[in-house]
Symmetry: D2
Subunit: 388 residues, 4 copies
């Protein structure tokens, strides 16, 4: 039994605000009644405001992984080719989903320290003169590495080739934390999830859908029922769902997006960038290295920290959890044991971040990681110097 409120500083699920926790505890209502219709229309509007789209959106009672699958089955046919990228664990897993569904994946290898290279996108599409590639799929923020991909540059690269492939973007760990523009950036399917920047528990996932994607759905041949946009959009127009939605999480969605707008999206994004910079200041001060090697691709959402050789990240994480009640993210896949990940997203303030960094500093001392003391103080100074 420990005292104090647990610090959930994994890169998602993020700390759910009390307001949202209370909202999801409202008594469940009739999903076919008039009160629900108002809720349904409201959350779709609110979701679109965060995705910055005036096109269509749907909300699935499902995890983000389901929305990955849904993007594919609504738009593609068996054997279709998709251009995907090994930006890290999640780029890799998404490619696995595509293969499971009978798609062919052009998988661009990566170093897990940088995002999708727009030049490679351009090169691959240019080479695909027969237009066998039906979609390009990129992860906006790679949660396993703390690296963002530059979606507008990818879009520009695609446009330069004149290739008709659809653009799918996974914003599961960026939506609500990082500037994102579905319409302006010409994304065809935006995939989001509830449990990161949207500050909700997991259990909802989202699509923003372009007109071009809707057209693709008309001839897509993969079997689909639960994920099918058609009934979702038809019911959604009236604020309803074709099957029972996850009502209580929708109460939370309404509240969470209201909170984002009360703070102001621009201020939310600036706060994430500022906290990420303070975190990197601490890491640098400790004499450690950040996993992301491209400065303009630093994630505002999380920072993956590389361990000194011969030191196990999971041993450190366990000590910090057991002794100081802070959860940090593990290294995933290829990075297992080699990095730990600090989530600094969602509902977070300065002392929340400083407490996390202080506990990491204490943990490194406790388990004997070689580091230079003072990172917590360096972060505090960064925050003081950038206070509004």
């Amino acid at each position: 039994m420990s005292s104090g409120r647990h610090f959930l500083q994994i890169p998602g699920p993020s700390n759910v605000p009390d307001r949202v926790l209370r909202a999801i505890s409202y008594p469940t209502i009739d999903h076919r009644g008039p009160e629900f219709a108002e809720l349904g229309l409201d959350v779709l509007d609110k979701l679109k405001s965060v995705m910055r789209t005036e096109s269509e959106a749907v909300i699935y009672p499902a995890s983000g992984t389901g929305a990955w699958e849904a993007a594919l089955v609504n738009t593609l046919s068996p054997g279709d080719r998709v251009l995907m990228f090994e930006t890290g664990q999640f780029g890799t897993l998404w490619a696995g989903v595509a293969r499971d569904l009978g798609l062919e994946v052009d998988f661009v290898p990566g170093d897990w320290r940088s995002g999708v290279d727009p030049a490679v996108v351009e090169e691959r599409l240019s080479a695909d003169t027969e237009h066998r590639i039906k979609a390009v799929a990129a992860v906006h923020n790679e949660t396993s590495t703390g690296v963002t991909s530059r979606i507008p540059e990818i879009r520009a690269a695609m446009d330069r080739t004149g290739h008709p492939a659809l653009l799918f973007v996974d914003t599961i760990s960026s939506l609500g934390s990082v500037d994102y523009r579905h319409d302006e950036w010409g994304v065809d399917v935006t995939i989001g999830g509830s449990q990161k920047g949207l500050m909700l528990p997991p259990g909802l996932s989202f699509h923003g859908i372009s007109a071009k994607a809707l057209q693709a759905a008309e001839s897509a041949g993969l079997p689909r029922s639960y994920w099918n946009w058609g009934p979702m959009l038809a019911s959604g127009a009236g604020g309803y769902f074709p099957y029972t939605p996850a009502t209580n999480l929708l109460f939370g969605l309404r509240e969470a997006v209201a909170m984002l707008h009360e703070e102001g999206l621009e201020r939310v994004f600036a706060r994430h960038r500022r906290f990420a910079a303070a975190t990197r200041a601490a890491v640098a001060d400790w004499g450690l290295e950040v996993q992301c090697r491209v400065e303009e691709e630093y994630s505002p959402v999380l920072t993956a920290v590389a361990m000194p050789d011969g030191h196990d990240a999971d041993k450190l994480r366990t000590a910090i959890l057991d002794h100081f009640d802070v959860s940090l993210g593990a290294g995933l896949g290829k990075l297992s044991g080699r990095v730990f990940r600090i989530g600094h997203l969602g509902h977070l303030n300065e002392p929340g971040l400083l407490g996390t960094l202080g506990a990491i500093e204490a943990g490194m001392r406790l388990v004997g990681i070689p580091y230079r003391p003072g990172g917590a103080t360096a972060a505090a100074e960064h925050l003081a110097d950038t206070a509004a």
Copy 2:
């Protein structure tokens, strides 16, 4: 603005107990940490205790409709034939899911007033000498009509034929409210949902899975990823999930099943039968007719009440909602406007039921439905005479 707590007397989602609402508002935890593993193992155990299985179970972050789909894609291949039944709206919708996925449906027509006829099952399977039918799919409790199907008799009918078809049973609106036995009854895939007898908000669905179903999964050819049992069972053995689960609903599941066991499953089932009988006593006293025409198939979960000719059920429902703050279920599909449905399931006590029936009686008077006064009193007498 009305005063008082809304009476959610639709046949699901049912009234979520405060204990469960508070449980789902616990702060979200790390779904990869040790505290989660305990939760994961515990909820799987608890789920199995309600399904009465010692075989396998999985929990999907999805609505029941998703678990319908999941049962099919895990066990069947394109073009496989499934024997399904028009017991009502939900039997009909499930057949639609099967067709969407590329299966062939043998659809037995029905009158929406009775359950699956075991004799028909026996006849159809006997006639299928080539074993082209791969599965029989029945809805245990038809939420649209208030009729249960007699699963043990269906199983016996199947057994008599020696046919190898799998047996799928939808217990979405019966699990936790009506006696059900996955193992003893020889069910291959039990499909459950959170928002009915399990007293949770919607957003979780469940499978109980027999060894025979697991074997079928090995050769099943429908594409699958999100619903795939393989990774779910592999992760589940350690209390984890292959992708982010709906953590907060799992907190609720733990609490809700604990409540069922505190009351005692047998007592829970007896309470549902007693409340259903009290409701039918009221309906009879009013001089109205119950939709279910087979006495041994009366649903303990809900009662669909047929309207006198020329009277619109939805007008009555709207008046009761607007004036007396009680939500009742609409007639679905073929029964639209012709019945209203009283949910008497889940977290409900005597005054909750009597208040519902009293409000219906007041509503009938208000909108001018011809009825004999006194149903509320008849139900009270039934409850007095059957009090423990």
Copy 3:
């Protein structure tokens, strides 16, 4: 372990709305910080709006009994005489408080079936030519009997005598449920509590204070510290308290009064009168008698029902609690075992009331009370015929 939400139908504490329960669970804040000051000013304003006063008000972190004491110690001196009335148990207890504090009580006996008689007030004050009576203290709604006293008529009687006595009114069980006007009715100290019509848990009590009462406080000689208006009013002007207030209950007060205003005070009062009339319709239909014998003094808040001779009210209440999960109020003091009290106040809707009455009807059948069946139906008909 019973299922369903408990029906708390005692005449207070009343059923606390979920919105208020959630409000009192907000994280506690600094009672010396700027956020608190806004809360403090807001709740004082809201309280005055319900008391209908533009004079002063204070909020005590204390039960209503404390506010009884506080009214006396702020305005009176040892040996002062107070005119008090045996309207029932609470009138009697308040007189006891006065005696405990060293005051002299002129206690007018009563029959526990009617309110304060304005003619007696006039007679007693007229006879007090030396003005030894310093205050007249009346209970607006006697919670032990279901009888209201007619405050405006009491005021008029006092005015006719020209006697300078202060007028204290206990509105603990009426405030927020029954029309009340501190300023218009010329009350000097209004005493309120949180747990009845204000729909909060117990723990807060209130004063509305006239200018004349404030003046009396200047020369009052009873020792006082905790209850002292001086520091309360001085701090309250800035939204603060002289000592730590019951912050979380204040969160609830803000929400509860907001709910009253959303419904509209006039509609709230009308709802209480309508539910009381429906309850009396049930009682009459059962062939039982209401304790209040004066029609214009029927309480909108509760109905005390007299038991047939030879039948124990507490045995009935226990059966209803044990079998049907409804709490009713016991007979107090002289009425112990002879009446039960039905609370129909606060956060209540039609099915809530009908469920209560249905459970009482079932309970009477269960324990063998002689009654005519049909009260629950009679109440339903009253509600149907008076639906807006």
Copy 4:
């Protein structure tokens, strides 16, 4: 609108645990019913376990200030003399309460940097050969200064004189955070409050009562009603209260003390001492001074930090609140503007403390307080070196 959970680091109210917030949001129950009796007996037992008494205890629906008053009115008579101490603001205020009630106060002046001097107690009592002093009243933990008084040494001093005065101890800000023993230390009235170490919102206060104090109550002449031990103890024996208790706060009390026992009182006290030491390590590292000048009297509950000359503590506190969302305690009375107070009590873990200290360090940089950087890191090192 800020993001993240507010850090309430004043020396009380302390951060209320979610478990306790949820507990106080349970639906209010009948305070005269059987479920309440169980609660009432349980919370009295639990309270005694924290006070470490097997004598009597009462729970008031009131703030701590009320319990100050209650201790006096239950045991003393007008004109009685009480020995009190200027340990800081709260010692001073309590003396004011005594004077308000008509008692005579022997007030021992102090420097606001040290606790009650046992030698002075001995001297004053020895000089009081006529036994006009009826009680000695000490504050165990002076919340205004961060200084504890050594109660066992005070008791020993009293015993040495053979003087019959009662011993009253205010444990409002120590109970549940600092080792305390009502019986073993021979205290006659222990005064506690809910909102500090007991981790509840404000609104409850407590007495532990010795047999000697009960005897004193029999002849005590101050008028009393609300605070009267007699009816409280009589009702309390059955788990009830003489008037409506603050039920929902009692739900919280049950949960909060359960949490203390789950952690273990000894571990709770050790945690408080360890966090206080880490805080002083930070203060020392910053080059600032702690208000308490006696090492064995350092408070485990809070640390008051003296500002460098010419710097305003409130300006710093405001900046930290506005920019970093941390509430700190102001200097009170004589110390206004000259100290700020860091609460490190109650429900707190290492990152919670480190976040607080980090925010203070950032705040000092922001407003230009002269300090040596590194305090946050010094505290982290202390915590690492003392981790279990």
